[in-house]
């Protein structure tokens, strides 16, 4: 790659921000390797969080899913499943880490704002202003079966509920005036009378009347992340979020187009273009040479997409039980049964259409791929592969051209999958002046370079 002249670079001083997504439930987490550790032991979480903190990461991030994924009439068996409640786990990590941000994915459809706002504010205080909230909006009735409220919301309604939820949460976080707590034990009362405002909110989704029980944290409010990719999701982010956790971080042009789309939506929402950080999720495979990196990537893909996993993915695409087939043979010859998306396999919809199958067939035929190879080659783009120096150059270009602000890295191995990123990639980034050499703030908002909460 040729070095760009600084004059052509829109953001020559931009810094890359890194977060780590402790992988949850999917086949990208390799559990079959002997070095793969427990997915639930607190030591695993601590190991990843401390490694990330050593690497001066902005954030440690946990996902959420309120029902175990199902396939072929039962709980899906092939992938990692089972994880801790995120705010509980992060509250423990608050005691065992110093600087790193702690981001919880929490659902607005199956929580209530008075309760969740309080839990997040508690995490924010316990961590000294390091909490973040990834606002997700799962809507399927199948998840609703685990909750009193049951039911579900349609696609548009769930963002309306999310927005109303967030506005109640913000009112809860703003309930205590500055300096409301007495300075000494001799004061007339613990809190200045009238200093705690009551929150009354009656809208389409919530009818709440409460007295907030916590002050603002060192960062004001928890940092708001958003992870939906639809138009409604992006508009929601442009209006409300501090960070977008996007799925557009592999291809430069795709990332730039996404970033420009978000900036357009920010302007339309009346916000500054730099009011929001874009951190796509990514996987990073590092080798000492390009060749070694590619070989490692090949190994990673084969471990992730085992024959059984490939058949499972094909079964969901075809709408047929293909579990007895040969994954290393050709694609099934049957026509797909186009089944309605039933929500049982997580929150992200697979592109289950006849066209996808037709495309798979054409490409497999042209390249002589087996079913498993097709699943690997045509699956979602997973991220970046290269040498530490090569990746650092590439990432510097991404960030300096405004295609993104950083990455939320998903290690494919738990708990040591982050080690080579911190030990090998971070120093190369630092050498190029595109990564911090020390934490300069104490709060997540400061790490991300976001403006203080008004």
């Amino acid at each position: 790659m040729t070095r760009t002249d600084p004059a052509d670079v829109p953001r020559p001083d931009a810094l890359l921000h890194l977060g780590v997504f402790f992988q949850g439930v999917n086949h990208w987490t390799i559990w079959s390797d002997p070095s793969s550790g427990s997915q639930i032991d607190p030591a695993s979480f601590l190991r990843v969080a401390r490694t990330a903190e050593r690497g001066l990461f902005d954030a440690f991030f946990l996902g959420d899913g309120l029902r175990l994924r199902e396939s072929e009439g039962g709980v899906h068996e092939l992938d990692v499943a089972g994880r801790p409640d995120s705010i509980t786990q992060l509250s423990a990590l608050a005691a065992a880490t110093e600087r790193i941000g702690l981001v919880s994915t929490s659902n607005t459809t199956f929580n209530e704002p008075g309760d969740l706002a309080r839990r997040l504010a508690g995490l924010d205080l316990l961590s000294g202003g390091r909490a973040g909230w990834n606002v997700v909006t799962t809507h399927n009735a199948w998840t609703g079966e685990n909750f009193r409220r049951g039911g579900f919301l349609d696609h548009a309604d769930r963002y309306r509920r999310a927005e109303e939820f967030l506005s109640v949460a913000r009112a809860v976080w703003d309930g205590w005036a500055e300096g409301v707590v007495a300075g000494s034990v001799d004061a007339r009362s613990w809190a200045v009378p009238g200093g705690v405002g009551r929150v009354r909110s009656k809208g389409a989704h919530f009818d709440v009347d409460l007295v907030p029980t916590l002050p603002r944290s060192a960062q004001g409010h928890p940092v708001i992340f958003q992870a939906g990719d639809s138009g409604e999701g992006r508009d929601f982010a442009a209006r409300q979020a501090d960070v977008v956790f996007s799925a557009h971080g592999t291809d430069f042009d795709d990332a730039l187009a996404f970033a420009e789309d978000i900036r357009r939506r920010l302007r339309a929402a009346g916000r500054a273009e730099d009011a929001l950080r874009i951190l796509p999720g990514t996987e990073i495979v590092i080798g000492a040479t390009e060749k070694e990196a590619e070989e490692k990537e090949r190994w990673v893909r084969l471990e992730q997409v085992t024959p059984a996993v490939a058949l499972g993915i094909a079964s969901r695409l075809w709408g047929l039980d293909l579990s007895g087939r040969d994954a290393d043979g050709p694609l099934p010859t049957e026509d797909p049964v186009v089944a309605a998306y039933d929500g049982k396999f997580g929150t992200r919809q697979l592109g289950e259409t006849r066209e996808t199958v037709a495309e798979w067939r054409a490409k497999a035929e042209a390249n002589g791929w087996s079913l498993r190879e097709t699943v690997i080659e045509l699956g979602p783009q997973r991220g970046h592969v290269g040498t530490p120096a090569g990746l650092a150059e590439k990432f510097a270009r991404f960030v300096r051209h405004g295609a993104l602000d950083g990455f939320n890295v998903s290690p494919y191995l738990v708990p040591d999958g982050l080690d080579d990123i911190v030990e090998l990639l971070v120093p190369e980034l630092q050498e190029r002046g595109v990564y911090r050499t020390a934490y300069t703030g104490t709060t997540l908002r400061e790490h991300l370079g976001l403006a203080p909460v008004g």
Partner: protein, 373 residues
């Protein structure tokens, strides 16, 4: 039946049991809501030899008019305390009156994981209609409905803990299966007001089930591990313990102790300038020198399984408990410290329950000793 040495619990919410306790706290009022303060109290309790701490909670503000208006959620505090201690049990108050039992189950199972098996749950109920408004849910009115929500919530929570058998994660590389789905169970709970499908999204807690503590009458005794019994006199407490059908009975005791500089009476009088300290019929109260408390607890030894202390002012009484009371109880073997590396359940002498979904077939996975040569 003879009972082993007492186990000691202490309530650490706020600044102490007196509504004006914050007036005598050794820190500025705002410090109450900081991690530093919480870690310090937890360290004192752990070092002193308490088996567990409990953390009161509600979505509503904790205090009376002039008292503390703030409180961090009990589960968040408990998880933080778990990560800053190593042998101390942690038991938050949670009510399923309005909270989703599915979330409550996940939170407590996760607390058990982060604490490596030191989690408990003090079953709470929300009786104030203001709690319904704060939750934004229709009010649960009257004792019957409140009891129903508490009972159903507890059943759901327990079943969800059981919904993963202990050995559900098989990591079978040969068959490409991380889980054995036959060891995961929908709970299919259907109550009067709601239903929950399951299974849990959190693997089975290390203790199988975190220790469930409750005041008598809130939930069926058969579903709890520790009954938090009380009474206005030692005789009442002993009678309540004899009546209790829970596996363990802990006596609730409010304590105000003489400190090197002031007597307990003087301290109470000082605080009563601000607010009365009303006696509760469901708690013993001890006021006086440390030696008297040692005598009281020695008298209770063998009659109850443990005590939960509610100190007048944490910063003052916890220090006296840790210097003068607990050491003496340990010297006399009236009470016992938790052993390093043990779960809360083990500290309380409670067996680790098998999942109720574990069948005899499943039991074949436990080693059969006779066959091992």
């Amino acid at each position: 039946m003879p009972r082993p040495a007492l186990r000691l619990a202490v309530e650490i919410d706020g600044d102490g049991a007196h509504p004006a306790a914050w007036r005598r706290a050794a820190h500025s009022p705002g410090e109450l809501l900081t991690p530093r303060r919480l870690a310090r109290v937890a360290a004192v309790a752990e070092n002193a030899g308490f088996t567990l701490v409990t953390l009161d909670d509600s979505i509503l503000p904790p205090g009376s008019d002039a008292g503390p208006a703030g409180r961090i959620g009990a589960v968040e505090r408990a998880a933080f305390v778990a990560a800053s201690t190593s042998v101390l049990g942690v038991a938050p108050v949670l009510a399923t009156t309005y909270a989703e039992p599915f979330h409550v189950s996940s939170q407590l199972a996760s607390l058990d994981h982060v604490s490596a098996g030191r989690a408990g749950w003090v079953v709470g109920v929300e009786t104030d209609p203001a709690a319904a408004r704060a939750w934004g849910r229709p009010p649960v009115g009257g004792p019957d409905a409140t009891a129903r929500e508490a009972r159903d919530g507890l059943r759901v929570v327990r079943d969800l803990w059981d919904s993963w058998e202990d050995d559900a994660v098989i990591r079978s590389v040969a068959t490409s299966r991380y889980l054995d789905r036959s060891r995961l169970h929908p709970i299919d709970f259907t109550g009067e007001t709601y239903s929950v499908k399951g299974p849990s999204i959190v693997p089975r807690p290390p203790q199988g089930r975190p220790v469930v503590l409750a005041r008598p009458g809130i939930v069926p005794a058969g579903l709890t591990d520790v009954s938090l019994i009380g009474g206005g006199s030692v005789a009442d407490v002993v009678a309540a313990a004899d009546d209790s059908t829970s596996p363990r009975a802990f006596a609730e005791i409010e304590v105000a102790l003489d400190t090197p500089r002031e007597t307990a009476r003087e301290r109470i009088t000082d605080l009563e300038r601000y607010a009365p300290w009303s006696a509760r019929p469901d708690r013993l109260r001890y006021t006086g020198p440390a030696t008297g408390l040692v005598s009281l607890l020695t008298e209770l030894d063998g009659r109850v399984d443990g005590v939960r202390l509610h100190p007048l002012v944490l910063d003052e009484d916890l220090a006296v408990l840790s210097r003068l009371v607990l050491p003496e109880l340990f010297v006399r073997r009236t009470a016992a410290r938790p052993l390093p590396g043990t779960t809360l359940r083990a500290s309380l002498g409670l067996p680790r329950p098998l999942s109720r979904f574990t069948t005899t077939d499943g039991a074949a996975t436990t080693p059969v000793r006779e066959e091992i040569r």
